[in-house]
Protein backbone atom coordinates (compact mmCIF):
# COMPACT_ATOMS: atom_id res chain seq x y z
CA UNK A 1 0.00 0.00 0.00
CA UNK A 2 2.73 2.44 1.03
CA UNK A 3 4.74 1.57 -2.05
CA UNK A 4 1.72 2.23 -4.27
CA UNK A 5 1.12 5.61 -2.60
CA UNK A 6 4.78 6.55 -2.99
CA UNK A 7 4.72 5.54 -6.65
CA UNK A 8 1.55 7.57 -7.22
CA UNK A 9 3.09 10.56 -5.46
CA UNK A 10 6.20 10.31 -7.60
CA UNK A 11 4.11 10.14 -10.80
CA UNK A 12 2.00 13.15 -9.69
CA UNK A 13 5.13 15.16 -8.87
CA UNK A 14 6.66 14.23 -12.24
CA UNK A 15 3.51 15.27 -14.10
CA UNK A 16 3.26 18.53 -12.15
CA UNK A 17 6.90 19.22 -12.89
CA UNK A 18 6.24 18.74 -16.62
CA UNK A 19 3.27 21.10 -16.48
CA UNK A 20 5.04 23.71 -14.39
CA UNK A 21 8.32 23.69 -16.30
CA UNK A 22 7.28 26.16 -19.06
CA UNK A 23 5.80 28.49 -16.42
CA UNK A 24 9.02 28.37 -14.36
CA UNK A 25 11.05 29.01 -17.51
CA UNK A 26 8.93 32.05 -18.36
CA UNK A 27 9.30 33.44 -14.86
CA UNK A 28 13.04 32.89 -14.99
CA UNK A 29 13.27 34.68 -18.36
CA UNK A 30 11.22 37.62 -17.06
CA UNK A 31 13.46 37.93 -14.00
CA UNK A 32 16.52 37.80 -16.23
CA UNK A 33 15.07 40.47 -18.60
CA UNK A 34 14.27 42.75 -15.64
CA UNK A 35 17.76 42.26 -14.20
CA UNK A 36 19.38 42.98 -17.59
CA UNK A 37 17.23 46.07 -18.02
CA UNK A 38 18.22 47.28 -14.54
CA UNK A 39 21.87 46.73 -15.41
CA UNK A 40 21.39 48.74 -18.61
CA UNK A 41 19.87 51.47 -16.47
CA UNK A 42 16.42 51.22 -18.03
CA UNK A 43 14.62 50.71 -14.70
CA UNK A 44 11.39 49.02 -15.75
CA UNK A 45 9.90 48.98 -12.29
CA UNK A 46 9.64 52.68 -11.61
CA UNK A 47 7.15 54.69 -13.63
CA UNK A 48 8.79 57.81 -14.95
CA UNK A 49 6.28 60.45 -16.05
CA UNK A 50 8.96 62.39 -17.92
CA UNK A 51 10.08 59.45 -20.00
CA UNK A 52 7.57 59.87 -22.84
CA UNK A 53 8.37 63.54 -23.00
CA UNK A 54 12.11 62.93 -23.20
CA UNK A 55 11.49 60.24 -25.81
CA UNK A 56 9.47 62.69 -27.88
CA UNK A 57 12.19 65.31 -27.50
CA UNK A 58 14.81 62.85 -28.78
CA UNK A 59 12.51 61.84 -31.62
CA UNK A 60 12.01 65.47 -32.64
CA UNK A 61 15.76 66.01 -32.76
CA UNK A 62 16.20 62.94 -34.92
CA UNK A 63 13.39 64.03 -37.23
CA UNK A 64 14.90 67.47 -37.53
CA UNK A 65 18.29 66.00 -38.46
CA UNK A 66 16.78 63.89 -41.25
CA UNK A 67 14.19 66.03 -43.05
CA UNK A 68 14.56 69.26 -45.03
CA UNK A 69 14.36 72.60 -43.23
CA UNK A 70 11.04 73.39 -44.87
CA UNK A 71 9.61 70.05 -43.79
CA UNK A 72 10.88 70.48 -40.25
CA UNK A 73 9.31 73.94 -39.98
CA UNK A 74 6.07 72.55 -41.43
CA UNK A 75 5.95 69.85 -38.76
CA UNK A 76 6.92 72.24 -35.98
CA UNK A 77 4.29 74.80 -36.98
CA UNK A 78 1.45 72.66 -38.29
CA UNK A 79 2.01 69.21 -36.74
CA UNK A 80 2.06 67.44 -40.10
CA UNK A 81 4.39 66.73 -43.01
CA UNK A 82 3.66 66.84 -46.72
CA UNK A 83 5.54 64.44 -48.96
CA UNK A 84 5.18 64.54 -52.73
CA UNK A 85 4.19 61.25 -54.30
CA UNK A 86 6.57 59.58 -56.66
CA UNK A 87 5.11 56.56 -58.32
CA UNK A 88 2.56 54.41 -56.57
CA UNK A 89 -0.58 56.16 -57.72
CA UNK A 90 0.78 57.25 -61.09
CA UNK A 91 -1.14 54.67 -63.11
CA UNK A 92 -4.48 55.96 -61.90
CA UNK A 93 -3.54 59.63 -62.06
CA UNK A 94 -1.59 59.60 -65.36
CA UNK A 95 1.07 62.06 -64.32
CA UNK A 96 -1.07 64.39 -62.19
CA UNK A 97 1.04 65.42 -59.17
CA UNK A 98 -0.18 64.05 -55.86
CA UNK A 99 1.07 64.26 -52.31
CA UNK A 100 0.67 62.69 -48.91
CA UNK A 101 -0.05 64.25 -45.54
CA UNK A 102 1.71 62.52 -42.68
CA UNK A 103 0.21 62.83 -39.22
CA UNK A 104 1.59 61.19 -36.07
CA UNK A 105 -0.22 57.93 -35.35
CA UNK A 106 -2.91 58.58 -37.92
CA UNK A 107 -3.34 57.24 -41.44
CA UNK A 108 -1.39 58.81 -44.29
CA UNK A 109 -3.75 60.85 -46.48
CA UNK A 110 -3.15 61.05 -50.23
CA UNK A 111 -4.55 64.08 -52.05
CA UNK A 112 -4.29 66.20 -55.20
CA UNK A 113 -2.57 69.51 -54.35
CA UNK A 114 -4.00 71.26 -57.42
CA UNK A 115 -7.62 70.71 -56.45
CA UNK A 116 -7.41 69.67 -52.79
CA UNK A 117 -9.31 66.48 -53.61
CA UNK A 118 -8.66 63.71 -51.10
CA UNK A 119 -7.77 60.38 -52.69
CA UNK A 120 -7.24 57.72 -50.05
CA UNK A 121 -6.27 57.00 -46.47
CA UNK A 122 -3.42 54.56 -45.90
CA UNK A 123 -3.54 53.06 -42.42
CA UNK A 124 -0.08 51.99 -41.39
CA UNK A 125 1.67 51.38 -38.08
CA UNK A 126 5.19 50.58 -36.94
CA UNK A 127 4.63 48.36 -33.91
CA UNK A 128 7.70 47.38 -31.92
CA UNK A 129 6.71 44.01 -30.50
CA UNK A 130 9.59 44.00 -28.01
CA UNK A 131 7.56 46.63 -26.06
CA UNK A 132 10.51 47.87 -24.02
CA UNK A 133 8.29 49.95 -21.73
CA UNK A 134 5.11 48.00 -22.12
CA UNK A 135 3.98 49.77 -25.28
CA UNK A 136 4.66 49.02 -28.93
CA UNK A 137 3.97 52.62 -29.96
CA UNK A 138 6.82 54.83 -31.14
CA UNK A 139 7.00 58.47 -30.02
CA UNK A 140 4.96 60.78 -32.29
CA UNK A 141 7.92 62.25 -34.14
CA UNK A 142 9.49 58.82 -34.65
CA UNK A 143 6.22 57.63 -36.18
CA UNK A 144 6.28 60.62 -38.54
CA UNK A 145 9.93 60.02 -39.41
CA UNK A 146 9.32 56.31 -40.03
CA UNK A 147 6.51 57.19 -42.46
CA UNK A 148 8.65 59.87 -44.13
CA UNK A 149 11.61 57.50 -44.58
CA UNK A 150 9.44 54.66 -45.80
CA UNK A 151 7.64 56.91 -48.32
CA UNK A 152 10.89 58.43 -49.54
CA UNK A 153 12.76 55.14 -49.57
CA UNK A 154 10.17 52.78 -50.97
CA UNK A 155 6.78 54.37 -51.51
CA UNK A 156 5.36 51.35 -53.29
CA UNK A 157 6.34 48.99 -50.48
CA UNK A 158 4.78 51.16 -47.80
CA UNK A 159 1.59 51.79 -49.72
CA UNK A 160 1.17 48.11 -50.55
CA UNK A 161 1.64 47.24 -46.87
CA UNK A 162 -0.91 49.76 -45.64
CA UNK A 163 -4.66 49.17 -45.41
CA UNK A 164 -6.26 51.50 -47.93
CA UNK A 165 -9.55 53.20 -47.25
CA UNK A 166 -11.59 55.96 -48.78
CA UNK A 167 -11.07 59.38 -47.17
CA UNK A 168 -12.99 59.92 -43.96
CA UNK A 169 -12.54 56.48 -42.45
CA UNK A 170 -10.30 57.64 -39.60
CA UNK A 171 -9.26 61.17 -40.41
CA UNK A 172 -12.05 63.72 -40.61
CA UNK A 173 -12.03 65.13 -44.19
CA UNK A 174 -13.02 68.57 -42.86
CA UNK A 175 -9.95 68.50 -40.64
CA UNK A 176 -7.77 67.57 -43.64
CA UNK A 177 -9.29 70.38 -45.71
CA UNK A 178 -8.57 72.81 -42.87
CA UNK A 179 -5.00 71.48 -42.70
CA UNK A 180 -4.58 71.96 -46.45
CA UNK A 181 -5.82 75.51 -46.11
CA UNK A 182 -3.40 76.11 -43.18
CA UNK A 183 -0.60 74.56 -45.20
CA UNK A 184 -1.29 76.85 -48.17
CA UNK A 185 -1.33 79.93 -45.93
CA UNK A 186 1.82 78.77 -44.13
CA UNK A 187 3.65 78.32 -47.45
CA UNK A 188 2.63 81.78 -48.66
CA UNK A 189 3.77 83.40 -45.41
CA UNK A 190 7.05 81.49 -45.47
CA UNK A 191 7.69 82.52 -49.05
CA UNK A 192 6.92 86.13 -48.15
CA UNK A 193 9.31 86.02 -45.18
CA UNK A 194 12.08 84.65 -47.39
CA UNK A 195 11.37 87.28 -50.03
CA UNK A 196 11.56 90.06 -47.45
CA UNK A 197 14.72 88.61 -45.92
CA UNK A 198 16.45 88.33 -49.29
CA UNK A 199 15.40 91.84 -50.42
CA UNK A 200 16.54 93.20 -47.02
CA UNK A 201 19.89 91.53 -47.39
CA UNK A 202 20.27 92.91 -50.91
Amino acid sequence: MTVALCATAIVVIALLWEVMLPYIDRQRQRRRARRDARERGEGLAAYDPGRERRAEQRARELLRSCVNDEEWEMYRDLGLLRVWGGESLDKELRGVPYAYLIYPHKPIVAYLPQTGRLLNEYCVEFPDETKPYGSSRLPDSDDVLAKWMALKGDERRLISTANMHLPGRQVDPRQVQRDLWRLGRWERERLERHRRASSGAA
Binding site: Q57, N68, V124, D142, N163
Partner: protein, 83 residues
Protein backbone atom coordinates in the same frame (compact mmCIF):
# COMPACT_ATOMS: atom_id res chain seq x y z
CA UNK B 1 29.04 54.64 -38.88
CA UNK B 2 26.32 54.60 -36.25
CA UNK B 3 23.37 52.25 -35.99
CA UNK B 4 20.38 53.86 -34.31
CA UNK B 5 17.14 52.16 -33.41
CA UNK B 6 13.82 53.82 -32.68
CA UNK B 7 12.34 52.53 -29.42
CA UNK B 8 8.90 53.12 -27.92
CA UNK B 9 9.16 55.19 -24.77
CA UNK B 10 12.74 56.12 -25.46
CA UNK B 11 13.38 57.65 -28.87
CA UNK B 12 16.43 56.51 -30.76
CA UNK B 13 19.09 54.34 -29.14
CA UNK B 14 22.64 53.87 -30.31
CA UNK B 15 22.96 50.11 -30.81
CA UNK B 16 26.30 49.86 -32.62
CA UNK B 17 29.06 52.09 -33.84
CA UNK B 18 32.19 51.39 -35.83
CA UNK B 19 34.40 52.14 -38.78
CA UNK B 20 33.21 50.20 -41.80
CA UNK B 21 36.77 50.18 -43.17
CA UNK B 22 38.10 48.33 -40.11
CA UNK B 23 37.61 44.56 -40.44
CA UNK B 24 36.59 43.85 -36.87
CA UNK B 25 34.15 46.77 -36.75
CA UNK B 26 32.67 45.84 -40.11
CA UNK B 27 32.03 42.27 -38.94
CA UNK B 28 30.29 43.56 -35.82
CA UNK B 29 28.18 45.96 -37.87
CA UNK B 30 27.20 43.23 -40.34
CA UNK B 31 26.16 40.95 -37.46
CA UNK B 32 24.13 43.73 -35.84
CA UNK B 33 22.53 44.68 -39.16
CA UNK B 34 21.41 41.07 -39.71
CA UNK B 35 20.15 40.81 -36.13
CA UNK B 36 18.00 43.90 -36.52
CA UNK B 37 16.50 42.68 -39.79
CA UNK B 38 15.81 39.30 -38.24
CA UNK B 39 13.97 41.12 -35.45
CA UNK B 40 11.70 42.62 -38.08
CA UNK B 41 13.26 46.04 -38.42
CA UNK B 42 13.52 48.12 -41.57
CA UNK B 43 16.78 49.94 -42.16
CA UNK B 44 16.85 53.47 -43.59
CA UNK B 45 19.68 55.79 -44.46
CA UNK B 46 19.14 59.54 -44.50
CA UNK B 47 20.91 60.94 -47.56
CA UNK B 48 21.43 64.33 -49.13
CA UNK B 49 21.14 64.69 -52.90
CA UNK B 50 23.48 66.78 -55.06
CA UNK B 51 20.93 69.60 -54.96
CA UNK B 52 20.94 69.56 -51.16
CA UNK B 53 17.55 67.85 -50.78
CA UNK B 54 17.27 65.41 -47.93
CA UNK B 55 15.90 62.02 -48.83
CA UNK B 56 15.98 58.51 -47.39
CA UNK B 57 16.86 55.11 -48.77
CA UNK B 58 15.64 51.79 -47.47
CA UNK B 59 18.24 49.05 -47.57
CA UNK B 60 17.70 45.31 -47.29
CA UNK B 61 21.32 44.16 -47.19
CA UNK B 62 24.47 45.45 -45.56
CA UNK B 63 26.16 45.73 -48.96
CA UNK B 64 23.54 48.29 -50.04
CA UNK B 65 24.68 50.78 -47.39
CA UNK B 66 26.75 53.52 -49.03
CA UNK B 67 30.28 53.57 -47.64
CA UNK B 68 29.88 57.28 -46.92
CA UNK B 69 26.73 56.87 -44.81
CA UNK B 70 27.26 58.05 -41.26
CA UNK B 71 24.17 56.47 -39.74
CA UNK B 72 21.59 53.79 -40.33
CA UNK B 73 18.23 54.12 -38.63
CA UNK B 74 16.31 50.97 -37.76
CA UNK B 75 12.60 51.14 -37.16
CA UNK B 76 9.85 48.50 -36.84
CA UNK B 77 8.56 47.25 -40.17
CA UNK B 78 5.31 48.72 -41.36
CA UNK B 79 2.10 46.85 -40.80
CA UNK B 80 -1.41 47.62 -41.99
CA UNK B 81 -3.18 49.71 -39.39
CA UNK B 82 -6.77 49.78 -38.11
CA UNK B 83 -9.17 47.97 -40.48
Amino acid sequence: MKFLRMRPGYGEQLIAEGDIEVGEDAERLVAEFRRQLEQGMWAAIPVETETGRREAELVRAFDEIPRTADRVIFFPRAAGGAR
